[in-house]
């Protein structure tokens, strides 16, 4: 079930009405209801994969309990957490990467002059598997590291793994943040409802108006043979995709966080104005924060982080980003994209090391804006890498770029400008105030008018055919 499908509002209205009706005192009844709703939400897409959710839940809950019992037996604890990692990454690896590695190995063998007989399994990727696998893995890892107590509440844990607002595309919540919220009464206050409604409407607006309209520009340009593009057309394609992917993914996160707020939950911030980043490390503090912090805590730091010398830090940064790219998808563009960002991080770090600069030195407004503008160029190149189907297409886009404003480019840029200006205005206000909820500080009539403007914008300009969220494929 997609947030932008017609059935979802009906589904949520029913879920929400019963949830509120049960009342905060009946936490377990509310959790049972949300769990049933979450399984329905996921099963609506393909009921066959509900078993995977249940397996992940059962394995990690059982391992969590076993870790609790093995307090003093470090070898057993290590074996248990290893089992959790193997099961979770095994499921993820099988469904997401098996066909990719088989195909790529065959290609490699063919390049070496061999004729391998290869059979792929044509495995269907369960939607959201990358998200909930990382989420449930964070639980056993945190219990193993004694950062949290293992839960005794199977119902609550099952809800933690499958909670429908963030099940298929995040934010990737940590057990230490979400489980306590699940296990104790939630309060649905007017402030939360207002913030939730804003996030909901703004998220839908970003998805149906900005992202889907940007896709109208980007889709045909990327589908065309790159050699037929000229002038600013490649730039238009990449810019449109850059807007599309951000509004699509952050729109989803906003909707998820809005739904959570309406029910009294708090999800972590997943986007902090990433296109206002002043450099690579700043970008990853702002883009898909729930993934970048997950990779930091469970991969970068265990690898040694920046505790070794310069070279080991650079290696760790690069490795983490390359693997982060692979997390996004079993395809080379994602690996290249992750590696590219790894290289950017290493260059930034090395430059600071060589120059002996203090990264914490304050930036003036002019310096900040100069960096923001300059960092758009590497950002666009990264987006081109991830969107191009092949290296040939990427090279084609670069070699067929020029300064001429062709009619197609002018149309595309005008279309983009028409649909993107609300995003620019709102984000400039958010950036200036450092508050993502700044629109809610306006007087009541203005807030109402703003909501009405967004609703009317969706009515008139929203792409009506439900277009799947881009990050579902991850």
């Amino acid at each position: 079930m997609q947030f932008n499908s017609w059935v979802f509002p009906l589904f949520f209205a029913l879920v929400y009405a019963v949830y509120l009706g049960l009342g905060a005192r009946r936490v377990r009844a509310q959790n049972a209801w949300l769990l049933a709703a979450s399984y329905l939400f996921y099963g609506y897409w393909d009921p066959r994969f509900l078993g995977l959710l249940a397996v992940s839940t059962a394995v990690d809950f059982t391992i969590g309990r076993a870790l609790a019992r093995a307090t003093d037996d470090e070898r057993r604890r290590k074996r248990l957490v290893t089992a959790s990692v193997l099961v979770n990454l095994g499921i993820l690896g099988f469904f997401k990467y098996f066909d990719f590695f088989i195909t790529e190995t065959a290609t490699l063998l063919e390049a070496m002059g061999l004729s391998p007989s290869v059979t792929t399994l044509r495995i269907l990727l369960p939607v959201g598997i990358s998200f909930y696998t990382f989420q449930t893995l964070s639980y056993t890892l945190d219990v193993y590291r004694r950062r949290m107590e293992p839960t005794r509440d199977l119902l609550g844990f099952a809800l933690f793994v499958s909670f429908f607002p963030q099940l298929v595309a995040g934010p990737i919540e940590r057990a230490s943040r979400l489980l306590p919220q699940i296990e104790s009464p939630r309060s649905v206050t007017a402030s939360k409802v207002q913030a939730g409604l804003w996030l909901l409407v703004w998220g839908y607006f970003k998805k149906t108006v900005i992202a889907d309209q940007a896709q109208v520009i980007a889709g045909p340009l990327f589908a065309a043979d790159a050699s037929t593009l000229s002038g600013l057309e490649p730039f238009t394609a990449v810019l449109a995709f850059t807007i599309h992917i951000y509004c699509d993914f952050s729109g989803y996160s906003d909707i998820a966080r809005g739904l959570a707020k309406l029910m009294g939950f708090e999800f972590m911030l997943n986007f902090r104005l990433p296109y206002f980043a002043t450099g690579p490390s700043d970008f990853w503090n702002r883009w898909h924060v729930s993934l970048s912090t997950w990779l930091r805590d469970y991969l970068y730091i265990p690898l040694g982080g920046n505790r070794g010398g310069h070279l080991s830090t650079y290696r760790n940064q690069f490795l983490v980003m390359a693997l982060g790219g692979l997390w996004h998808g079993a395809a080379w563009p994602y690996v290249l994209w992750g590696s590219y960002h790894g290289v950017l991080l290493v260059i930034e770090r090395a430059w600071l090391d060589v120059r002996g600069l203090d990264p914490r030195r304050p930036l003036g407004r002019a310096a900040e804006w100069t960096r923001i503008v300059l960092f758009w160029f590497p950002t666009l190149i990264g987006m081109a890498i991830v969107r191009c189907a092949s290296v040939d297409q990427f090279v084609g886009l670069i070699t067929h770029s020029g300064p001429e404003l062709t009619a197609r480019a002018a149309d595309g840029l005008a279309h983009l400008a028409f649909f993107t200006w609300p995003l620019v205005v709102v984000q400039l206000l958010q950036h200036a105030s450092k508050d993502l909820l700044v629109p809610l500080r306006a007087p009541v009539p203005l807030r109402g008018a703003l909501l009405a403007a967004l609703l009317l914008g969706m009515l008139v300009f929203g792409v009506r055919e439900p277009a799947e969220f881009f990050y579902f494929q991850f």
Binding site: R272, V444, R447, V460, F461
Partner: protein, 354 residues
């Protein structure tokens, strides 16, 4: 990445935006929602009063004009169907070739057979005796489209009219909800044309680009051969995306209702394939998809001698005569209509005037 975080330190933390939930009371939230709801409804009302949907888009104009004709025409030959029939069935040519008045009540594909059935129901309700011949012209692509309540909301009917008449089945719950949303918020139903109008400042369609004759025949001013292959590729992709039965169960029910009505009310019903681009006609995906549609229609018509599928392959045209693989220019519409008339005559239709 840890290093990256530390690099930024306090300065980065200061630069990063956060989320400060403002404290408000229930009353303020309720007032905010009230203002939003009132403004949304009021602006919908004003916008539609200033620029009625039927005057703002070609689709709206087609539907309104055809609906009006359906209630007033007494032609013996009635053509219903999708846009391939809208542009392809030249009522004047059909009439002169078959020796009886004809009217073209075709709209466009998203109405599918159900839309044709509602249009025909209006014809039957408005006159004492049924027409002699009802020709249903549908392109294969129509069966790959998903209808929705927004489309049906363009028919000037109240929601109760969609409970299911003698011909057309009731709207399913999802479509009924979309219908209600489209009526409550008419900007939604006409969002494409309204959005275009806002962007371009063109509030009224250029009528020279779409002429609708008194007999309902719509005319495209020019071919668009460059767009035809692209549209064909898209259509093939749409065929591939169809899941389940072809036609869908709702369309099957509507087709069977038409056949039953022909038998009970005493008129001849003929399903005709649309004009088509010659290269599209040979694409294996199209052949397979159209074959599924045709097989069903032949099975549905087999229950009465009053209903049949027009024999022969779809008349083919070059890209120079088309706007898309199914939309012909006026000259080609004449050719198509003559060919359809020839095949109808071969079937002995229309029967002698009653």
């Amino acid at each position: 990445m840890e290093g990256a975080k530390k690099q930024a330190g306090k300065t980065l933390a200061e630069r990063l935006p956060g989320e400060r939930v403002p404290s408000v009371g229930r009353g303020a939230v309720a007032r905010m929602l009230l203002v939003a709801a009132l403004l949304t409804l009021a602006l919908n009302y004003v916008a539609v009063r200033l620029s009625p949907p039927a005057k703002r888009s070609f689709d709206g104009m087609v539907v309104e004009r055809k609906w009006q004709l359906a209630g007033t025409s007494d032609a013996e030959i009635v053509v219903v169907g999708d846009s391939s029939g809208n542009f392809g069935a030249d009522a004047a040519v059909l009439g002169s070739e078959l020796g009886a008045d004809a009217v073209n009540l075709c709209t466009y594909g998203r109405f599918q057979i159900r839309g044709a059935a509602w249009m025909l129901e209006r014809v039957l309700d408005a006159r004492e005796r049924p027409p002699a011949l009802v020709l249903v012209v549908l392109g294969a692509r129509t069966f790959a489209l998903s209808p929705d309540g927004f489309t049906f909301a363009q028919l000037p009917l109240g929601p109760l009219a969609f409970r299911g008449g003698s011909l057309a089945p009731a709207l399913p719950a999802r479509h009924a909800l979309q219908f209600v949303a489209a009526r409550a918020l008419p900007l939604f139903a006409q969002s494409t044309s309204f959005g275009r109008a806002l962007r371009t400042g063109e509030w009224e369609p250029d009528l020279s680009r779409l002429v609708i004759e008194d007999d309902g025949t719509a005319r495209i001013p020019a071919a668009n051969p460059r767009a035809v292959p692209r549209f064909a590729d898209r259509t093939i992709a749409e065929y591939g995306a169809v899941e389940g039965d072809v036609p869908s169960s709702a369309e099957r029910a509507a087709a069977r209702a038409l056949v039953r009505a022909a038998d009970e009310r005493g008129f001849d019903l003929v399903f005709a394939t649309s004009p088509i681009w010659e290269e599209m006609a040979t694409r294996p995906e199209h052949v397979a998809f159209e074959g599924r549609v045709r097989a069903f229609l032949e099975e549905a018509c087999a229950v009465t001698e009053r209903a049949r599928v027009l024999p022969g392959d779809a008349p083919r045209f070059s890209a120079d005569e088309l706007e898309n693989p199914f939309h012909v220019t006026p000259d080609a519409a004449g050719t198509y209509s003559k060919e359809v008339a020839r095949r109808l005559r071969a079937l002995g239709l229309p029967r002698a005037a009653r």
